[in-house]
């Protein structure tokens, strides 16, 4: 082999190694190792103190999970949040994205405004809405009284039957703008000619939406849906600050339960088992979603490319 070429190859290797090293070390030590450690400690009964856990109990923590009404409740509440996000929040975001795609005076202002809550931290949002939902000094009941809907006023966050919906309202307030921006970007990537052609062929507004906009926006919708589901499964900050999971666990999520056990009750082994369950649920969902739903986007992209030729 050419000596120069060989030297070049060796120097390439060195470059690859040196450039990749910091990322590998950082990611390995602070992301991968902790997750492996969580998997390991989930097999022990451990309070988190001292060196390494010693009281090995195999899968008992996981068995306990399946028998824990709070954890089972977490799954149910998580599922409800997922369903609400997909059926309420995303259609709202889609509607507004399409609306802001119209020629509308001030739409740039609306766009900036609708997205603004996404920039506020979860904690600030939660503290703000804690005040909004407050019984005496709060805004929500006051507004309902003003518009004559006093019957709808509620204790919002301290009633187990309304608390999860109140949390969902706050989630929607905070996150719909994010989905709207994604969908708006997706909508703007649809070539204008397609809508023009459909209109030229005599399609009405609804037909254009149903047969042109929606199918072409589907890849973005699927990504938006993916992020909404993962976000609902892993929800922590909003709930922790807004309700702490209460009352009577009625707004508790998996992450909140994990935090309670890990940092308040010092059952680190059990809390690790919850982390691993959360991880496995997210990963399974992501893999299945990737495999069965996002895959179509690749094929779809290829077929549209074929059409354009």
């Amino acid at each position: 082999m050419d000596r120069n070429l060989r030297r070049r190859r060796i120097s390439d290797r060195i470059t690859i190694g040196l450039f990749m090293l910091p990322a590998l070390v950082l990611f390995g030590v602070l992301v991968v190792v902790p997750i492996l450690v969580a998997a390991y400690t989930s097999l022990f009964r451990w309070n988190g103190f001292g060196g390494l856990p010693t009281d090995f109990i195999g899968l008992d923590n996981f068995v306990r999970l399946l028998d824990d009404p709070v954890f089972i409740g977490d799954l149910r509440r998580g599922a409800l949040l997922v369903v609400l996000s997909v059926t309420v929040q995303l259609p709202l975001a889609l509607g507004l994205a399409l609306l802001l795609n119209q020629k509308l005076r001030g739409r740039a202002v609306y766009r900036v405004l609708f997205f603004a809550p996404y920039v506020l931290s979860e904690v600030i949002t939660a503290v703000l809405f804690d005040m909004v939902f407050s019984q005496n000094r709060g805004l929500a009941n006051h507004v309902l009284r003003l518009v004559g809907l006093e019957g709808l006023s509620s204790t919002w966050l301290s009633d187990p039957s309304t608390v999860l919906y109140s949390v969902f309202l706050v989630m929607t307030w905070k996150y719909f703008g994010f989905h709207m921006i994604l969908l708006l970007a997706g909508r703007q990537n649809i070539p204008r000619e397609l809508h023009e052609a459909a209109a030229t062929d005599g399609a009405g507004g609804w037909q254009i939406f149903r047969h042109v906009t929606l199918p072409l926006l589907a890849p973005t919708i699927r990504i938006s849906m993916f992020l909404a589901v993962i976000g609902s499964i892993q929800l922590f900050d909003l709930v922790w600050v807004l309700t702490g999971g209460g009352p009577l666990n009625a707004s508790e999520t998996m992450a909140v339960t994990m935090f309670q056990y890990g940092f308040r009750r010092f059952e680190v082994g059990y809390a690790s088992a919850i982390s691993i369950a959360m991880f496995l649920i997210s990963l399974t969902f992501a893999v299945l979603y990737q495999r069965f739903i996002l895959r179509r986007d690749l094929e779809g992209a290829m077929t549209t490319m074929g059409d354009q030729r």
Partner: protein, 298 residues
């Protein structure tokens, strides 16, 4: 933007296709309803924030009697007291320091890795890339317990590095994904000619690639700063010492401390919002560009 030239909806007629933009002019009724919807949604966003802003100028009795009316009289004490206290400024400083340090580390480290991912072919590259992208799905919640124990062992509790380094690590996936796709778009000839001119790979990376990638660097930096600024769980467990609290931890603690003083809490919330909203108004384009690139190129 070109002005609309037609005044009626385009009819299906010959010779009308192609060419200029379709000026889908809305009827007055439709336009009115679109405006109504936008204004209602806008109000739903603005009203809680305005409630907090005005509430901060009230005392608690005013707040109970008229949660949304204008304060009468205006009482600036809540705001002044917070602005005069050291702890708010301390938290602002901590949040800024941690966000900037996180951004520098994550962008620097990710840029090196993305450069290799984008420009070198080697065995295992796709596997390695997949390894990083799977990390997109790891929230702090999954790793927080062992991370806490690890940081405790390393003596990094109550140390800003205990927040900065993990944040940088968790930010790597999205940063690498965005930067790689950007670096790929830079023509290979540029690198070849630089190397022929005696440039080392690092020299090319540092003196040519990074300056060319400035918009992408700005975008990922903004994403990293916002993520760090809003992070709560990690600073919550790492910082026991109030001197290290960041804004989100400070807001939460303040809420606990002044549970009965709603007006004061509202003032704190408003002041805590200001830096984020100011940053958003400056960096809106980069932030939105980064999010949409991250979501569509993932």
């Amino acid at each position: 933007m070109s002005a609309p030239t037609r005044t009626a909806r385009p009819r299906p007629e010959r010779g009308n296709r192609g060419g200029g933009r379709m000026s889908r002019l809305l009827g007055p009724a439709q336009s009115l309803s679109l405006h109504t919807v936008s204004i209602i949604v806008g109000l739903i966003i603005v009203v809680p924030i305005a409630f907090a802003l005005l509430g901060g100028f009230k005392d608690n009795r005013q707040l109970s009697n008229s949660p949304f009316g204008l304060p009468s009289p205006w009482i600036p004490e809540n705001y002044l007291e917070i602005l005069g206290s050291g702890s708010f400024w301390r938290q602002l400083f901590n949040s800024t320091l941690i966000a900037l340090a996180t951004a520098v580390i994550v962008v620097g480290v990710a840029a090196l890795a993305s450069f290799v991912f984008a420009r070198y072919a080697f065995r295992g590259r796709e596997m390695l890339f997949l390894f990083f992208t799977i990390g997109l799905m790891f929230p702090f919640a999954v790793a927080i317990l062992p991370l806490f124990i690890l940081l405790r062992t390393m003596g990094l509790l109550d140390n800003p590095l205990g927040v900065i380094l993990p944040q940088a690590a968790f930010g790597l996936p999205v940063t690498i994904i965005i930067l790689r796709s950007f670096f790929r778009a830079i023509p290979g000839e540029l690198e070849e000619s630089a190397i022929l001119d005696g440039c080392t790979p690092f020299g090319f990376f540092w003196r040519i690639l990074l300056p060319m990638a400035r918009p992408a660097i700005a975008t990922v930096s903004v994403l990293a700063i916002v993520a760090s600024w809003n992070n709560f769980m990690l600073p919550l467990v790492v910082f026991n010492d109030p001197n290290w609290w960041t804004i989100p931890v400070g807001v939460q603690e303040f809420q606990g401390q002044y549970a009965d003083d709603s007006a004061k809490v509202l003032a704190y919330v408003v002041l805590a919002m200001v830096p984020a909203l100011a940053f958003y108004s400056i960096a809106e384009r980069q932030l939105i560009g980064g999010l949409t690139a991250g979501a569509t190129k993932g």
